[in-house]
């Protein structure tokens, strides 16, 4: 029970952080990509603070043998740069620049009831589902 409650508190923390940092505002997201227009450094400031905190915390956490509630740390096994990484990130970049929404802020906005997230998030889930279908077909000859 305590284990599950911590997931809820972490989810609330992440959502609240995105609201406090104005990352749920699509103007802010498009603003950091708008080098030719009115460039807005808000996202960079948010990233700098988040990465600094996480970097120092990870250095301490990953020296431990296992997490508090789990058996092992789940870290991505792949280290190489792959075509897949670049193509996927590029497709994400197109959608991100078009809408000014990425998954975290979109999910938080869904909770607020705002209409645009109720269009965007189902489309995003459909995109993930399509990927799953395509990936399965690709891997089964």
């Amino acid at each position: 029970m305590i284990r599950l409650a911590t997931f809820f508190v972490i989810g609330m923390t992440l959502g609240t952080a995105l609201i406090v940092g104005s990352l749920t505002d699509p103007k802010v997201i498009i603003g950091v990509l708008d080098f030719a227009g009115q460039w807005d450094p808000t996202v960079i400031l948010f990233f700098a603070a988040a990465v600094t905190v996480t970097h120092h915390a990870y250095r301490w956490i990953l020296r431990k043998t296992k997490p508090v509630f789990g058996e092992a740390f789940h870290l991505p096994p792949v280290k190489r740069l792959t075509t897949r990484l670049f193509l996927g990130s590029a497709a994400f970049g197109v959608g991100w620049g078009l809408a000014g929404l990425c998954p975290g802020p979109a999910l938080t906005t869904l909770g607020s009831g705002a209409f645009h997230a109720w269009v965007f998030v189902p489309s995003m889930m459909a995109g993930m589902w399509l990927f799953r279908l395509w990936d399965r077909r690709r891997s089964t000859p």
Binding site: D34, A49, L81
Partner: protein, 139 residues
Amino acid sequence: MTLSHVCWTLAGGALFGLGVSALMWLHGRIAGFSGICGDLLSAGRGERQWRLVLLAGVLVAGLAGGVLHPEAFVYDVDRPSWVLVPAGLLVGFGTRYGCGCTSGHGIAGLARLSLRSFAATLTFMGVGAIVVAVVGGAR
């Protein structure tokens, strides 16, 4: 950009970092929204449960935010509404194909100095900037 905006942004970023760190410290997981969402479609029951609970926390934060500070969720950008559908499809497909989004690669990945995450972050920011240069800024 006002000093108060800078302070709130930095506070939000630091709080996000604490959430990301807590997920690794307590459960050994990378806080990546696209992974947490996408794995809902494929994971087994036990694996699905924690993801749903975490997402419920995110939604409750959004609900509270919508009541206390609705201005934070206004879609006031120079884009037609229909764009949300292809954009959502691309974000969903692309984050799964590229194994991560702004949280997993951009924050957790950069924090552990992952080369893949640096490459992914540069790619989606560069491509996003090209798209904004072509279709225009927020207003």
